[in-house]
Amino acid sequence: MDNRSVKIKNLVKTYVDDRGRPTFTAVKDINLEINDGEFMVLVGPSGCGKSTTLRMVAGLEKITSGTIEIGDKVVNQVKPKDRGIAMVFQNYALYPHMTIYNNMAFGLKLAKKDKGFIQNSVSRAAKALGLEKMLDRKPQALSGGQRQRVALGRAIVREPKVFLFDEPLSNLDAKMRVQMRAEISRLHEQLDATMIYVTHDQIEAMTMGDRICVMRDGLIMQTADPLTLYRQPANVFVASFIGSPPMNLLRGTVQRGDGGLVFNEGAGPNSVKIPLRGEIATRAERYVDKPVYFGIRPEHLSNEAMDQMHVPLNSTVDIAEPMGSESLVYLQAGNGNMIARISGEHIFRHGDTANVYLNLSKAHLFDAETEEVIR
């Protein structure tokens, strides 16, 4: 079995205008290794360079500097068709004048494969995707979900080492998206192929990815498996990007008080003060009197103190969104707002004093200058 890993080394992409003058650096020196058979998700806000990176792997965009290896072979100068990749586009990119069959067979026909072989591969892919009855139709006669399935089929038929997806589900409705998400995951299991998947939807990222690479402004912020990304965000950006609703972040300083270290939001008579205990206190030692962010996820605020690590938070209820088994409560705390996800059936009224506790063992501290996590 040949190696299907992808290695991206010091990759830079600077776009140039008609006359070759540099206009914009979309990818700034990134390094990323994608293992054989891995499902890697590139995620990040719009314009962060995800598509640019993917398109360089595909060979559709010229590399400014750095190297891309597919299966231990540097492919910088290799044509897209010879890289052993297949790509699924956001807008399907089917050939409108060809039947579904010919859409899928196009690549094999160009590669001069023999007829029986083509017929075999296409019908196998069509069967796997439930497209057998539509092979004679033109793309216009299909629904969005079916079109994207044809695009998937066209990719499968090529038997690539690496599948590339650029936001393939963003044109589909919510229900279809869930279904296709499962289908692509199943495909990954079956084919056991390497896949790189670009999305800006964090649910897609968390549910599908073996590992997730979070990007911002052409840089990689963190690469890790979904749970690590959730539990141990490396910086403020990842902390606020992953999770919904996002992590509560308070800016303040660490101060030495009577009973130990305290996080103090600072100015204002009713600013938030959080006593630091246990492991987080150890981490805070080096940051006494320095600016930090205190971060805690909404689900780590609760309405009962379960152990020593739960500390009370002075706050009042602003708005509550009861959802049955749990409620999202928007709290007025100190100079700002915090969100708590409280489980159980409760009724909250605007202006009530909220009885909530922060679970310090799940809290994070970030250096306010570098925005990196404090370990």
Binding site: D18, A58, G59, L60, K79, P80, K81, I85, A86, M87, F89, Q90, N91, A93, L94, Y95, P96, H97, F106, G107, L110, A111, K138, Q140, R154, R158
Partner: protein, 314 residues
């Protein structure tokens, strides 16, 4: 499944939910014909009066040189037209002119569109230059070609040939049809280019990228992706150009006057020469009627072809 709707006028209409007729149109049904009437009526008159007169003239004796001779001519005008030695050459010339210009403008138009789809230095200026001939009046461009470019004494081509030691060519004398085709193609190429260029601009970039991943070379990309995409636009160009090219007149009148002999006489020019050079309105009308029928036959097939094309694409 169908739904029955009682309209105000009392009739029962059956509509199918799948047919997406907006209900507003159905409600307006009773008043709409009256509102449309003036427009439809005037258009009808606009068309029917000249057509009626042509038909009428084509069946009577009507020669301006001999006004006393009148009366019903049966099919004589058509017979004389048929027997006119210029008739078959005129039909043939019309077809040759039409076909050659269509092929030249479409082929050159497609190639230019593909070329201009790429970025190159000075593209905007170059685009303007390609389109410019379209804005020149046919008479003017014919005169420019006749006197400044193709003329065996003053022409630019004669100059170029002399400079390499070759004799000048009398284009309108020795290659009259070729010269007319050249001029008309020059005039109509910008039109083809404009339509095809806008069409090529609408070709989805992702589609081209998908094809390049599928391994299409430049040629394969052109024949398998670009050309099919352009087919509808080519249909439009062919249809519109056909309508205008069937009646090319000014270019022939200003350059060759249909000659030498009948070498560049097309149907339009023949009608002119019968009516206003031989002053036989009857035969000229018969020729005009034939031209109308010819144009309609061609238009019928083209429209059918195009609408099939559109249907298939949907």
């Amino acid at each position: 499944m169908s739904v029955e709707i009682q309209t105000p006028s009392g009739e029962v209409k059956t509509t199918h939910p799948a047919a997406d007729l907006p209900p507003a149109v159905e409600e307006a049904d009773s008043t709409l014909p009256f509102l449309q009437w003036p427009a439809v009526g005037s258009l009808f008159l606009w068309m029917i009066v000249p057509l009626g007169m042509t038909i009428y003239f084509s069946f009577i004796r009507y020669n301006l040189m001999n006004p006393e001779l009148t009366g019903f001519a049966k099919a004589d005008n058509f017979k004389y037209l048929w027997e006119d030695p210029a008739f078959f050459p005129a039909i043939l010339n019309t077809v040759i002119l039409l076909g050659s210009v269509l092929v030249i403008t479409v082929v050159v138009g497609v190639l230019l569109a593909v070329l201009y789809d790429h970025r190159f230095f000075g593209r905007n200026v170059a685009t303007l230059l390609v389109i410019a001939p379209f804005f020149v009046m046919p008479t003017v461009s014919a005169l420019v070609w006749k006197n400044m470019i193709l003329h065996p004494v003053y022409g630019l081509i004669a100059l170029a040939l002399h400079s390499v030691g070759l004799p000048a060519i009398d284009w309108f004398g020795d290659h009259p049809m070729f010269s007319v085709i050249l001029i008309v193609s020059w005039e109509w190429m910008p039109f083809a280019f404009l339509i095809l260029f806008t069409s090529i601009k609408s070709l989805d970039l992702e589609q081209q990228e998908a094809a390049s991943i599928d391994g299409a070379t430049g040629m394969q990309m052109f024949f398998r992706i670009t050309l099919p995409h352009l087919s509808r636009a080519i249909g439009v160009v062919v249809m519109i150009e056909t309508i205008f090219l069937l009646s090319i007149f000014a270019e022939i009148y200003t350059t060759t006057s249909g000659g030498p002999g009948t070498a560049t006489t097309n149907l339009a020019y023949l009608v002119y020469s019968l009516g206003l050079q031989q002053f036989d309105i009857g035969i000229a009308s018969a020729g005009g009627l034939l031209a109308v029928i010819l144009a309609n036959v061609v238009a019928f097939f083209l429209v059918r072809l195009l609408s099939n094309n559109l249907k298939a694409a949907r």
